[in-house]
Amino acid sequence: MRRLIIPIGCALLALHCSGPRSTVKPAASSSTSNPTAAPSGTIPSPDDTGDWVRPAKDFASTRFSGLDELTPTSASRLVVKSTFSTGVIRGHEAAPLVVNNTMYVVTPFPNFVYALDLTKPGTPVKWKYEPKPMGSAQGVACCDVVNRGAVYDNGTIFFNTLDNRTIALDATTGKEKWVAQLGDINRGETITMAPLVVKGKVLVGNSGGEMGVRGWLTALNATTGSLAWRAYATGPDKDILIASRFKPFYEKDRGQDLGIHTWPGEAWKQGGGAAWGWISYDPELNLVYYGTSNPGPWNSEQRPGDNKYTAGVFARDADTGEAVWFYQMSPHDLWDYDGVNEQVLVDLQINGAMRKTMLRADRDGYLYVMDRTNGQVLSADPFVHVTSTLGIDLQTGRPIENEAKHPSTGTVIRDICPAAPGGKDWQPTAYSPRTGYLYIPANNLCMDFEGVEASYIAGTPYVGANVHMYAGPGGNRGEFIAWDPVNRRKVWSIKEQFPVWSGVVVTAGGVAFYGTMDGWFKAVNAQTGEPLWQFKVGSGIIGQPVTYRGPDGHQYVAILSGVGGWSGAIVAGALDPRDGTAALGFVNAMKDLPSATTRGGTLYIFGLS
């Protein structure tokens, strides 16, 4: 039963840390006269008043704010304006919302919702809602107790609980409007994602692929909570809502009932493909976009085939849920490369023509620029060190396999990059139409599969690959990258000691904000990457910053601190650093995190002095 001791070093290659500065005019620039004007090249939110009503800011998921009071000049004057302890110690991944001078915060399990009054000194609590998620079957929901945020629409706050409820609250009073039970925690299902409201429907996806669930995206009627439609990721076409409109761009994604035929036997029934990440919406095309998680709980050897429709991205009709196209980034995923990362919808000048594109910084380490009308990949370039594949074949849409890195339980494979958390995990990027750059909170992690490790669960011994993660080339485990998607290159980057597990916000004033796992909240010049300001918060940051116009007309920026999540489990879950394979091998790469930060959830609001 002894685990093997794995040498964690790897050949360190010098990494280009900072490419040449861009001399190209941003493809999608916009007027700077109106600070709240929606940028051209992105889809305007109808409600951009300086509020922040959904985690991604707008339907296009740019996380770009038109506010411009915070600038490279003024940012050094940022000071703390208010703080608030959430009373919860697990990982805080949510984005606070700001609507009508009220801030809304949803916490990790037990999923409290707080409404804070921004008009009063000290931002006091207006109301608190406690959903009291099921705690009776202790330990049944094993690990992911995070929550990635709420969404506001039409006087209502919508959020999900770990025990699979979607709840609608009156935004003014905190009174429950309706509760919808969407899944069962006793069968391994949980919900951790932030819902999105589109045209009167609340879109929600499940988590729990590795527990044997079958992934789905569900639409609820926003006024009643009743089911509008549910689209599965595996099984027969009718369950996936695949019908006559379904036209994938690539041959590999076409065919009848691929949700059955790309699996052996009945493996699709426990095929994963959960939709635990982000959803974007294009009102003009009336399409919603979201990704599906990796196939599970089968080993790759047990599921020959492409394992549709996991580890890919769907475009669906926003009203009916009918699938319009699908593109699979990782056919027959070998590396736990979930496809759930956000899609940023921007119109870009590509090879001389304006294209409706979608930017995806995927777990597989590639930055995909795709045509969002049809799912064509226009370019796919590695934004981190990648060895697991040799590139993306734009003719077939398939990754070019690197057979030398294919895992087989019991064999030794080293230097698989990126590691399972990917070049970027769930932590969302931001796009500025002013600079034309995508800001990527990235991981620089590689992993080894070595030998066989035995473990025990529910009275049953089992064995698996002994997975260890460690820093990739350069020795830094994280990197904050400004990427030019038109010229397909890194413009500048900032190396970080730990994986950058926070979201990003970027502003018309030319400032980008992000946080680090050791607890620094940072402002950098969006054009150059020059550090402008930083503040040490109480616990490591894995949340999503937001910026908004306060009741006094001034610009504020807010962030939840509170380390945890997969990367921070060693602190939030008090895991033993000697057990390098805990948290699926992530603990090995994070052994020094407990000495860098401690746990505990606190909201910070910053403004100019």
């Binding site: 039963m1 002894r2 079957a137 202790q138 330990g139 049944v140 094993c142 690990c143 069962d184 925690i185 006793n186 069968r187 391994g188 590795e210 527990m211 044997g212 052996p264 036997g265 009945e266 493996a267 029934k269 426990q270 990796n294 599970g296 709980p297 089968w298 080993n299 790759s300 050897e301 047990q302 599921r303 020959p304 736990d336 895992p407 339980t409 019991g410 399972a420 599969f449 030998g451 066989v452 490790e453 035995a454 473990s455 025990y456 669960i457 529910a458 009275g459 049953t460 011994p461 089992y462 064995v463 698996g464 690959a465 997975v467 879950g573 895991l575 033993d576 000697r578 057990d579 699926l584």
Partner: protein, 277 residues
């Protein structure tokens, strides 16, 4: 040739003797003070349940009797985080069944060793013993699934390495926690004929096979170590890594009571194997 025997207990006793001979003589008077605090799954027969009907509940009772105290349970589903939230959080002091030599805990000398088995309906006369049996190419096979990336039950690995995948049905060990002892569904599936054969961890197979309406046959899988994948596992009691005095007391108990423990294991139909077979 593999047979299911109770000889493993003898080996365990030998191990215990060896451990005792080199253990420091430290004796902690606090070991026996207060109730016996056991960390246990409330819904996981044949090992344990909240009604205390499992073999580990019986062994805990026996231990408490020796310590002249009573058992106090901390109930927690035995999933990822079980040790962290129970034993290593200080809520309880002993896990009755845990793999010998596991990290993050101290484990006693093994008190039994079991094996994965092929479970079939006796009337079918399939007599499958080996992963190389050609019948496995065409029969419908149930396997227990785990779901960590790259991790699964050893027979699931062994079958997939032989290309036996298209005729395999998965039963997660998590199951549906609202039902009784969720991992047991795979044994009922064989009895019902949902699958022709299933590979199941011995103690689970033994206990639930005896409860089915039709006779089932259990044969240990071969080879016992298949291309790096062990199919047999020794089971110990576990305590916190710093709890050496308690460990010594438990080792004494296992030596003193090995006959009674063997009787409990037999009563729950646990298939036992010898070390190193």
């Amino acid at each position: 040739m593999m047979r299911t025997t109770v000889l493993g207990i003898g080996v365990a006793a030998l191990c215990i003797a060896l451990v005792l001979s080199i253990s420091p003589a430290a004796h902690d008077a606090n070991v026996a003070a207060g109730p016996l605090k056991v960390c246990s799954d409330p819904n996981n027969l044949p090992f344990s349940n909240a009604r205390q009907e499992g073999l580990e509940n019986r062994i805990a009772d026996l231990l408490a009797r020796d310590l002249r105290t009573h058992v106090e349970y901390t109930w927690w589903a035995q999933r990822r985080g079980f040790l962290r939230n129970t034993l290593n959080a200080g809520l309880c002091d002993v896990v009755i069944g845990y793999p010998s030599g596991a990290e993050m805990v101290l484990t006693t000398a093994p008190y039994y060793r079991s094996t994965y088995v092929f479970v079939t309906r006796r009337a079918r006369r399939l007599r499958i013993r080996s992963f190389d049996d050609p019948q496995l190419q065409r029969l419908k096979i149930g396997v227990q699934l785990i779901g960590d990336d790259g991790a699964n039950t050893p027979p699931a690995h062994s079958l997939s390495q032989r290309g036996v995948v298209r005729n395999v049905v998965g039963y997660t060990v998590y199951g549906d926690y609202r039902t009784n002892s969720p991992p047991s569904a795979i044994v009922a599936a064989v009895a019902r004929g949902d699958v022709d054969v299933a590979t199941v961890w011995g103690p689970l197979a033994g206990y639930f096979a005896a409860l089915q309406p039709v006779p089932l046959e259990l044969l240990p899988v071969e080879p016992q170590v298949d291309n790096q994948f062990p199919q047999t596992f020794a089971i110990s009691m576990a305590v916190r890594t710093a709890d050496r005095a308690r460990l010594q007391r438990l080792n004494q108990f296992l030596t003193n009571r090995h006959t009674e423990i063997a009787q409990i294991l037999a009563r729950y139909h646990v298939p036992l194997v010898e070390e190193g077979r």
